[in-house]
Amino acid sequence: MSELQVQSADKQLVHILYPQGFINAHTVQDFERSIQAAIDQQKYRILINCQSLSYINSSGLGVLMGVIEEIQEQSGYLWLSNMNETVYHIFDTLGFTHLFKVFPSEDEAIRASESCAEDES
């Protein structure tokens, strides 16, 4: 089994990524490929469910910073949910929770996406 696997699924309007393992300098390219694949398919409403993500280092944060502008230009969003304590501390310490909305659960993120869609219509 590889050190990072990223499954994906579409639920309602949201494209959800499920990274399983850890994101560091060794695995970051796999993570980047999975986000880029979503963007290439013009899926700009992305949720990363961190349920099975043990940690992410600054290389992984660099990937998020690298795509956020394009996603926002397309009126999309890059949200995160189900973070463990370590992952949350990393985002919170750096102030990234202001840039990337964080939800306790996938369901809450999906409900928020539905509200966004209603506001747009």
């Binding site: 300098a25 060794h26 280092n57 600054s58 910073m65 690298g66 304590e85 370590t86 202001h98 840039l99």
Partner: protein, 148 residues
Amino acid sequence: MHEIQAGEIEVTFPSQTQFVHMVTMVANNAATMAGFERSVAGKVAIATDEAVTNVIRHAYNNKPDKQIKLKITISAESLTLEIFHTGRPLRNESIKLPDMEQYIAERRKGGLGLLLITKFMDEVDYHVGKENCCSMKKYRKRDHAGDT
């Protein structure tokens, strides 16, 4: 807090990213053994990941045939992690930590590793010598109040 354990651990490994997770887990386990809460052990692990990755990327410029040594010392007062290498040294005076408001506003990328190390550890020092060293310390007593 468990009964205080003391001791030293040394791990030497090649300058390749595939080894980083293993030493990160060693640091995590050492922090847990030293009695730190799981959330603090996670911070120690991330600081170790960032410091070792910096050595591979910047000190050794991604050359895979170099050696890195991680020495962990658990004492009554603290947990110290020292990362030794013979590559390009990082000097205390050359470190510039980013202003995160500006960083986010400008959508910058990279350069967050040193900031995470500084935020997650109590003391960080870079020594230049025959072997260069990044020394990171977490005090045990500061952790009594909870998650720091």
